[in-house]
Symmetry: C2
Subunit: 901 residues, 2 copies
Amino acid sequence: MEKYVYGFGSGKSDGRADMKNLLGGKGANLAEMSNLGIPVPAGFTITTDVCTYYYQNDNTYPDELKDQVLAALKTTEEAMGAKFGDVENPLLISVRSGARQSMPGMMETVLNVGLNSKTIEALIKKTDNARFVYDAYRRLITMYADVVMEKAAGVDPEEGKGIRFQLEEIMEEMKTEKGYTNDSDLEVDDLKKLVQLFKSKIEETLGKKFPDDPYDQLWGGISAVFSSWNGKRAIAYRRIEGIPDEWGTAVNVQSMVYGNMGDSSATGVAFTRNPATGENLFYGEWLINAQGEDVVAGIRTPNPLNIKNKTEETKDSVSLEEAIPDAYTQLFEIRNKLESHYKDMQDVEFTIQEGRLWMLQTRTGKRNGPAAVKMAVDMADEGLIHIKTALSRVKPSQLDELLHDMLDPNEEKKSKELAKGLPAGPGGASGQIVLTADDAEAWKKDGKKVVLVRNETSPEDVHGMHAAEAILTATGGMTSHAALVARGWGKCCIVGCGALNIDLKKKEISIGDLTVKEGDWISLNGSSGRVYLGDVKTIKPNMKKNKEYSQLMEWADTYRRLGVRTNADSPADAQQAIEFGAEGIGLTRTEHMFFGDDRIVAMRKMILADNLEDREKALGELLPYQREDFYGILKAMKDKPVTIRTLDPPLHEFLPHEEDAQKIVAEQMGVSVDEIRQKVENLHEFNPMLGHRGCRLGVTYPEITRMQAQAIIEAACQLTKEGYKVYPEIMIPLIGTRAELAHQRKVVVEIAEKVIKDMGQKVNYLVGTMIEIPRAAITADQVAEEADFFSFGTNDLTQMAFGYSRDDAAKFLPEFYDKKILPEDPFQSIDREGVGQLVKMGVEKGRATKPDLKIGICGEHGGDPSSVEFCHQIGLDYVSCSPYRVPIARLAAAQAVLSEK
Amino acid sequence: MEKYVYGFGSGKSDGRADMKNLLGGKGANLAEMSNLGIPVPAGFTITTDVCTYYYQNDNTYPDELKDQVLAALKTTEEAMGAKFGDVENPLLISVRSGARQSMPGMMETVLNVGLNSKTIEALIKKTDNARFVYDAYRRLITMYADVVMEKAAGVDPEEGKGIRFQLEEIMEEMKTEKGYTNDSDLEVDDLKKLVQLFKSKIEETLGKKFPDDPYDQLWGGISAVFSSWNGKRAIAYRRIEGIPDEWGTAVNVQSMVYGNMGDSSATGVAFTRNPATGENLFYGEWLINAQGEDVVAGIRTPNPLNIKNKTEETKDSVSLEEAIPDAYTQLFEIRNKLESHYKDMQDVEFTIQEGRLWMLQTRTGKRNGPAAVKMAVDMADEGLIHIKTALSRVKPSQLDELLHDMLDPNEEKKSKELAKGLPAGPGGASGQIVLTADDAEAWKKDGKKVVLVRNETSPEDVHGMHAAEAILTATGGMTSHAALVARGWGKCCIVGCGALNIDLKKKEISIGDLTVKEGDWISLNGSSGRVYLGDVKTIKPNMKKNKEYSQLMEWADTYRRLGVRTNADSPADAQQAIEFGAEGIGLTRTEHMFFGDDRIVAMRKMILADNLEDREKALGELLPYQREDFYGILKAMKDKPVTIRTLDPPLHEFLPHEEDAQKIVAEQMGVSVDEIRQKVENLHEFNPMLGHRGCRLGVTYPEITRMQAQAIIEAACQLTKEGYKVYPEIMIPLIGTRAELAHQRKVVVEIAEKVIKDMGQKVNYLVGTMIEIPRAAITADQVAEEADFFSFGTNDLTQMAFGYSRDDAAKFLPEFYDKKILPEDPFQSIDREGVGQLVKMGVEKGRATKPDLKIGICGEHGGDPSSVEFCHQIGLDYVSCSPYRVPIARLAAAQAVLSEK
């Protein structure tokens, strides 16, 4: 006979903590605590298998269930010394859901089951507290009518018009009539009358009587819980959290205990360590003479659990330690037992009924980033857990909280949310709205904090983006220009915030009916994508002084196999990245260097040149700038490898597209506006992403590649002369065929050898390629013949493998997630089945030609934990990501090793 | 000892026709003819190995060469009964190049080698024709100075300033002085004097004497030929024709024979069958008392070879058959011998020296398309060749000449070429220039023939494209909108003609310095991409009456395994394609159907709708139109399968982008211009090719897919009711993930089953997908689970695998071909190594899931012979192409079978 019911709380339990799939998290842990000898109100769990059966069999139960429930109830009665439905010493029970993964508030609960016209008298006699009992009865009736009877009647009233609302209305009427303010003003007689009124109303509205038989109440409650697994809220929640529908919920039936039976009764929640700081201190809150929901609901302000918990604000409150010292001592012992048993911080609920402590729940406690780091390292230091366990305890993304300013969560909670976009640059920031890059720069000079709000950004906006505290765009995805640039700087950024309507003329933004103006304050949570009105306070972390963080990173480095490099375009970025632990540069984008004041003029001359001679002259002007850039970066990275990508973006990006700007440029350069306009038109492309860029420019204008290679090798020779060891790696972008790479390699090697000979230095340089065009991955065996290294550019590879423009797809992709057509943003986390297979193919084919081929990744995926794991699995040598993601990648790389079988 | 020299013409030759790689085409065939007992002036061939040696060894020869040449020369002397350099009976020889593949005019030739101050007298005595001999001497000196001496001196004069020019100037001066008009007016004494003047000039200019030693002349000639293999012209030619540099040339040294030794001498060229019509008639031209070059150069008008060759214009000319009947009879016998030996039409050169016939060359003759078809079928019917050989004799592309109007080649030769673009739609056409689609339609209504010239075309231009005789665009590649539409209609079209500068305001086009205006006539050769000024006459083929064509196609069908379907968007296209032999429709693009007058209004209503209800209402208006379309196409195709693709292009394509047009639409629809403008802006994408289109629209707006599926199945049910058998195949475009296809499949199947039930008919329909996104190919095993069939959309697959926008890449791809980075346009012929591997992967993975999965291709590659071969090799079930390419695909599919080992 299959076992559907697992008892707990009466000696040895049937279940264990590792039976979460069958018993749900709550049930499994109740069984486990009970096995540890921790006092748990007796009860039993009906398994998730019953839930599955229930839905597969037209809302019926297995035949064996009834007998098993009755048997378990009998054991419970024995353990608690009371009897369900007994008119002398009645047992009251609760019926709750308990899924494998917590779904707080999404399913139904019925409390005080077992109270009826007969047992109520016995209970009054027993407790000598008629008001308490009638209040419990009133609650049972309300709850039961709502979650069991109304649903069973198939009634689906409008929001706020259901039976619960009607019953509460009756109670409010009575309170008004009597001149009461609070529910607690209701007296026994009032409650007695209410119970009658409630019962009549229920019969009138739902056509059925409130059941007086405790067993009817029990089965009704069980059905209600199972039914609620497929309630609208629960389904929606599962969609968001990715919980499979077929898991089902368990039902926990448990004896009621009461924390509101006088001043020797209490209730509270506690964490075995401080979940906000990670400190190894028992931390919690409690209320005397109260029920659990009072703590959670925030109706009364709870007191600190113990003396050490007291703060300046709560120093005069009475702690549980002081008020009920015996119970506290017992609780503290349980806390120690739970931690040493579960080897992790626990989040517990307890109730003290007339001096007797009952544990109602234990589960692994949620914690913020800094706390996660501290606890993991502390516990490892304490010998509680292994270093490997410590490493896997911290979600890599939690490190963001140690690296960036964050919005103060308390302030954030109270702020008005304006809109939601994609969380492109983590952290929090506030500032006054500006709508152009020039304004951002100007306002910043005037000492103001600004948030730059644009439809989208382009390289022309970079100075304003730099000046801004944060960047907010209406369009674009996780790898749009704004996202890439912001993430590179560790700057808070939200993109693809479709609700924004920016009116540049009126200098205002409308969001639905709301309008905010230039100069108004907004705040951004770049980790969640939420935009708030007003100036929300931020919290500053101090990563450098955090010794647990340093320790964790050190441990990560000893375990990981993958190298971690950074994407950096300036010596400052490079320096920042080294502090974060970068072992080299995986991507330097040279094009960002062309936007300086003098440089852009030379760049534009180069673009406007219509013959080789003029073009080479203009390139000659750019050469010293580029050499200086590369000198700085190579020097900053000292003896670490530096991968420098030759010019990548289409040339039109370097010319202004608006007439006014074109006029200014024309004057600067001494040409006609028509000439500029004509050039911009000539360079126009329908699909620039698939256009004349990357190595295609280098093939058409080899002189550009040659100038860049010359600048790199000249800088390298100069540094070598100065005694530095430098390892430049020249990377050709957008290669699709072996012949392209052969062409560009020849250009690079020719000039490099010439410079090396002329300068009389020995420099080891490599020439390799981005693999970002699907065809390059497919023909990687051929491409490898010309390459010293590969670096996967998974941004473009994702674009082309899916056929999604990263600048446009944000318009429809969210709907794809909603409809479960895509599990997540493939620009954020690598699509292992598709894009990942191309990468894998590229690795295998590349190494088939050159077994030692050095292979990395420099797309945004290099900083995404799941993608880092994938890169580890397929044998990459390193990942490269923006400086602020380097610690995340280091931890993720270590976890990738640990998650191997 | 290695053999470097192969003799011919004196008994059994050393070489054979199949030794072309070693002896070059000319030398191998001279040897072969000689072996057949055909009279060939004796001589020998120096092998291509010597050329290779020459370039690998610093322009020197193998040691053995000299002796072998002298030995061969001796044999030649014996055969011809004359002696090289002999003062009594001197032998004169020619030194010519002869590569594996003909490179006409690209390398050097020296004739009359062996004439010097001593042999000249003997020859005069022997021929009794001093003028003839001095003229030969004058020619030798000029030629030798030019091709041997000037090159050897390292002089590189400006074009038209070299030694040849200087010598010709001397001759012109003399002619002026003497009052002569023609070279032939020069008398013996004049020529004697000229020879002296030439020799002096040569010594003065080049610092060396003209060699008097015949052996110096011989070796100088041999060196000149080998050197010319790496001349600029030859290298450029090889680049264009794809001839490898390492092949090298052979050198043919051959006894001179002269057709200009009086009225019993003659020279001519002939084809064993008529190369213009394919008729089995000996065809050729000859000149009495002339040298070969006179026929080729067109200085004198040659006569018809025989009586049957005579035309109205040449009826009074004397044929060789009449003039020298013995020689003609011998020639005719040789013609028969050559055809029965080579089993193909031969192109021969002959000379008759004083009544004696000598064959100078035979090679497989070039022929046009109709002739190729006729010859192949005739020869098979005659039993000369096997049907398989007949099938491989016709290049599939030659069929174009039977299917389209072509420019008259004679007229074309004389016309002024304006510019060159990509040959997007084959055939020829002329018309008056119009610059807008509306004008094209209006002018056509006025009875004019027009050519529509645009920067690029869009669906809004389709009515004008239809009205035009031909289409010419400045931008775009082989799969641009203009190219696709034109090819679908079999219309002449040239795209990507970058030299055009269209000025819409002035209504004119400038091409370099030249300006042509609206209304001017131009002519297009859509097979070569050439644009001519003026009204060039066209030739109309009549494919239907061509019984050899029908026979060839019938044979092709018996051999091919691949099915051939067509891409057709209307019943008329479908009907046309059936006539061409299409076995079904592989692609119906439904979007073209939305541009009708009433339809576009409904379509725009649908796009402007901001809620489901309005959208469904607008779709309801489109439904009857769509049903009617599908009814027509399904009926036209009768019992053949019809693949219908659901909506593919981005919605913005259905809205006007120019303000004036927006105003009109706004009025039509009763909305504000702002609303239209706003919608167009909202729909704007940076890279529309990677944007919100294909199944992404169907996922966002399932109601569109539903309407289309409903229309298809309703039409199918109606036809079934009427007694037709129909096989609709509903194809979902742009699938990247299995989930997308599952989503769309569900939408289709739900409505289809409903319609089938409601209409009470049984209809077999399939639901499949385009594989055009790289990810779909990579995950084809998953996608196949939801697909009844695959159809590779290799246009988009090529775009995304290479990362080339087909609308933009034409700007830089030509340079890629020049630089040998790409062998050819991957949009025209499938890139087997890259894109082809994706297709192969898709086939293998798809069939791994469903072994019987029906797989086709519906990109433009479906009509490209090389791509058809590839499709055959990887096991596709069918190819689908535009109607006019169906015969090409049928033949290519048969050839693919025949080229298998």
